[in-house]
Symmetry: C2
Subunit: 206 residues, 2 copies
């Protein structure tokens, strides 16, 4: 159990995350994942049991921490009189932004998340909904408080759109490319700022 940051487990998870982002879950084979991680092919089934479990673990590793920090920041603003829409949106987007910029290439994970969105696979959907669905519900409660003019259905429509927009934008699939020489950090911060601004206006629309 030595050298925790360069564990066989962690090396596999890191390589899987990167390759799942680039080629999708079906498109990234365990042979390519283990080769990238410089571990033996059998290590995946030894440590995770199956490819499906590996996929779930890729999500769990990031989402446990990510959603904990989201709820933490939400908790510190929820119900307060001076809380704005932008504050709540930032509580959701900010942690994702920070994670995407940490040392060990969390930037691939937001792209994996976008893949998950596109995935129609029932198993994966159920896993994500069962484990992290309560986070979205908590945010919905606060949004509902700040947007009393929207009925429940209308609110859910807009939150759905917001979720899609930020998933897509954070995963930088679009045409916007970082300018040469521009700091990756600055780029992502600006992306988040644009997102919050846009989403807040959309949510407020009459």
């Amino acid at each position: 159990m030595a050298t925790p940051p360069f564990n066989t487990r962690q090396r596999i998870l890191g390589a899987a995350e990167e390759l799942f982002a680039r080629h999708g879950f079906a498109g990234a084979s365990l042979r390519r994942v283990t080769a990238a991680a410089k571990v033996n092919l059998a290590a995946v089934n030894y440590h995770f049991g199956s490819k499906d479990n590996l996929i779930e673990e890729v999500f769990r590793r990031r989402l446990d921490d990510l959603n904990a920090r989201r709820l933490d920041r939400l908790g510190s603003v929820a119900g307060r009189a001076d809380t704005t829409l932008e504050t709540v949106l930032d509580a959701f987007i900010g942690p994702a932004l920070e994670q995407s910029m940490d040392r060990h290439g969390g930037s691939a994970f937001v792209r994996v998340l976008a893949r998950a969105y596109a995935e129609q696979d029932d198993r994966l959907r159920k896993f994500l909904s069962q484990n992290y669905g309560h986070v979205l519900k908590q945010f919905a409660v606060e949004f509902s408080r700040l947007l009393p003019h929207l009925d429940k259905e209308e609110l859910y429509w807009r939150l759905d759109i917001v979720a899609g927009a930020l998933t897509y934008a954070m995963a930088d699939f679009g045409v916007i490319k970082r300018r040469e020489g521009e700091n990756e950090k600055h780029y992502r911060e600006r992306a988040a700022q644009h997102l919050v601004q846009f989403a807040a206006a959309g949510l407020r629309a009459a």
Copy 2:
């Protein structure tokens, strides 16, 4: 060359569209596609040459028509004094909406489009950009005219977000589900209406 609507070619394209939407490009094998289309396995390579070409053809079949109608509607409002943001957005979203509701299951195609967005594959990206990039450019010109307070970079940021939001929302990946007994047509129309409203407000944000 008999029975054009139930051609072997068309049957393959229809089955491929449906299965690509559900399982992704790598996840849907030619054997499952040809089985669903009730044609021989070799028919794909006979009619399309390769799986990659089949994928491109799935896009071409829908996008040629879709983008032509988008540009047509854009042409009838571009440059006019009474044109609003909502009008232009509708020129983009409307045709996609109509196509998704036509008889022969065009509804799967919007989900395939969302898959393509998530795909990092260079070949597919280049194909889409080379063949349909000019459509987005034309719309950007008109948006630029209606949003003079935004500089070029700001505008592109927002259009990027809009593209993401509408792609995901139209593909109904989210949590919003059609109510039982509710007409699919009404559902999609309402989705488009919410989208236009949301996107317009986001684009207008100071």
